[in-house]
Symmetry: C4
Subunit: 248 residues, 4 copies
């Protein structure tokens, strides 16, 4: 393993499910994963350092530095299913680095007998979206029924440009190793941090894991703020167009 792994402690896990929630399109996956981890009172048990992250440390508000890293956090669902969240502020800086990191993450998780890999991401449309679907991609076709029941939509062949980075590599490497894997992609313009899209992913995960209260108030407030801003911008554009009409 090329990465350097520092364990806070080594949890005992039964058939854990890995949930990848790293930064990406509209930060949808990160927002959703971080929220679920917090809701389930996840605890950090490992930090992964690598030459494949940017060569820097970031000072906290207390001036204590933190090296660029990814982290593994452990939580249990209400029914007792072990979850491991892959969290962080970085993905690998190069394609080769992303591959090495994904391999290392998988190796760690396979040592824990990982039973399933779920990666979270955004499905960028490049235009303001009102309704936000959660689109899916799977490691084997039999997984689709279960996901459809949880509210996931399947668009043939989408996203055409592929699923890049950790969200793609982890389900690809999972597939290679016979581990059921899928990616949940929240529909988003991709222009802003999209809390509304993260909410839709959370609803899918809530159904999947039997979590009744997702405590979405804060995310909904953030989402509302963004909606108002984009509505206002849209109105102004309409007004301007109307004004121009009068001139005509």
């Amino acid at each position: 393993m090329e990465s350097i792994v520092k364990y806070d402690y080594k949890p005992v896990l039964k058939d854990p499910i890995l949930i990848e929630a790293l930064p990406g399109i509209g930060n949808v996956g990160k927002v959703a994963g971080d929220h679920l981890a917090q809701l389930l009172k996840a605890e950090r048990f490992a930090v992964i350092y690598s030459m494949n992250f940017p060569a820097q440390v970031i000072p906290g508000e207390d001036n204590v530095v933190k090296m660029a890293c990814n982290e593994l956090w452990h939580a249990k669902t209400p029914s007792g299913q072990d979850l491991v969240f892959l969290k962080g502020d970085y993905q690998g800086s190069t394609p080769e680095g992303q591959f090495i990191l994904a391999q290392d993450m998988l190796e760690i998780m396979m040592s824990y007998g990982v039973s399933r890999i779920i990666t979270l991401g955004g499905f960028g449309t490049g235009q303001i979206v009102k309704e936000r679907h959660v689109y899916g991609a799977v490691s084997r076709i039999e997984l689709k029924d279960e996901l459809t029941d949880c509210g996931v939509t399947f668009l043939p062949g989408e996203p055409r440009a592929g699923i890049v980075g950790a969200a793609g590599l982890l389900i690809g490497l999972g597939q290679m190793n016979g581990i059921d894997s899928f990616c949940l992609m929240g529909e988003t313009s991709g222009f802003f941090i999209d809390h509304g899209s993260a909410i839709e992913i959370l609803k899918v995960l809530g159904k999947m894991f039997g979590i009744e209260d997702l405590d979405l108030k804060d995310l909904e407030a953030e989402s509302q703020k963004l909606a108002e801003l984009t509505d206002k911008a849209a109105e102004q554009m309409v007004e301007k167009t109307t004004d121009l009409g009068y001139i005509g």
Copy 2:
């Protein structure tokens, strides 16, 4: 070996010939190789994954993802010669990665006692071509007579810019290891996927392997479509020029 090789099964092969058919100029090599593999009912026996491919998975029409990879497919010619096709949608992302991948492919094939390496590619002219030669480059001069008999043309020192990527490296590494190797390059503008150029390569391979019916209908139809489009574009340009003439 840096690559990760997953075998569907391990075929028993006698002096197999490797045929490289990866994407390249005008996609000539890929179209020709994929057609021949299908014609000979080739079967996939190995998938090669690597950090040197783009860091992504591509969803199929059934939403099942496929990791960026190369594949090895096995077929027999009518006379019983074992062929192995190197197929895929990717070449290595960097020069170093391409070298490592070519070395790994060769190592696999040498373990099967590879007797010959044929790489397929396009010979880009940068202008619309009517007649499409198949140009050759060889690992040792004695191979030229046989290729000439199969319809291959030899232009001294061409292509001047070299043969890049897998098509070049595999015959170079073949040469280094004493394996007869050559590259067949179909003449092409390089502007479009050139089915017509692939047909000319297939005719050479057909002669070489004693394949009488190459089943070229579909490729010919595709080629015809492109020819009509480019002819129409050319006519319009002539008309415009003529119009301008009238003005004068």
Copy 3:
């Protein structure tokens, strides 16, 4: 270790403190570290070569070439504390290279039982500064009191863009290995080699190590020169603005 280390001699060191003084923003860290090393009559004991430095040699005034490298120099403070200066004209050329180099430096220093890591750098403001604070970032919060006593200022969460290169990585890797580490950043415009900012860092280090005479004459002269130049430039801009005023 990927680096090539050539020892002039192997010093016997007791709980040494590493002081990193490589080139960076305003060259503040390098100027400060080189000055202190000279003041304490440091001696070079090791040279580190690496493929991660630029691929070149530099001829000296005597035409003897010097390969791109970093160096370790040993000195003692007046009270007998062993110091090791990390000096040189280069940082690694790539993020991966910087990480590998920092790891190798740390490995060398850990073999000497390094007790503390101090990295020196500039805190770039992008505008001419009159008063130059020395800002700090630490590996653990308990270190802040001592640094405050030596004149260091702490700005919450700054620098927001992180601390890049050796100055960041060495304290990050130090932190990972339980070694007390901090970075001292001299405030600077970042536009010029800033001797004045280096002086402020030296005052902090002087207090820390009980060095009474820092012999700052030369640095002060250099700093004065720069101040005069920038003052003159500022005056001319004021005059021009005034002239324009008359026109109005």
Copy 4:
């Protein structure tokens, strides 16, 4: 060793001198080295392949491909001194690759007990040069007298930008390993292949190795051709300037 070395044969060498003659500024080093190798009837004994060269093969006039590589050729001076020429059409594609290649070359040569390393290159001035000095840079100061006697000029601290690539790294790595090493740089505009500059390097090497007839006719003819071209261009510029003068 990362490189792949294929030996034609393994020569028996006594204290051989390595002469590096790879492409560079004005191709001065390559032209000079190739000429001397031919003059002394050098024979190729090894080919070095590497992922650090461009990922391609080049077809010869006979359509036989040649993989990107470097080569080692053996010759003897009139007095029986063994020389090894490092020849080729490529340097490593990246700084890291150049370092690895130089290390591998040195490792090969050290196994032969290399006694001295001479690298040949151009000293680019960026303007048309009439008189072409040969400038030197050395691994230790004691080498300068001998080189001065052979006609080499020493400019303090030049070239300021350093000596990059194989010409620099090989003398740097030589120095690190206690091998007497120096670089001879022929003064050149750097705009064209400069045979005239190569001639000056050859005169130095001729004196050094006691070679009386350097057989410079062909190089002189090439050099003359270039001189006439640049003279004509210069005249035309003068004429134009004069014409403009009349207008005034």
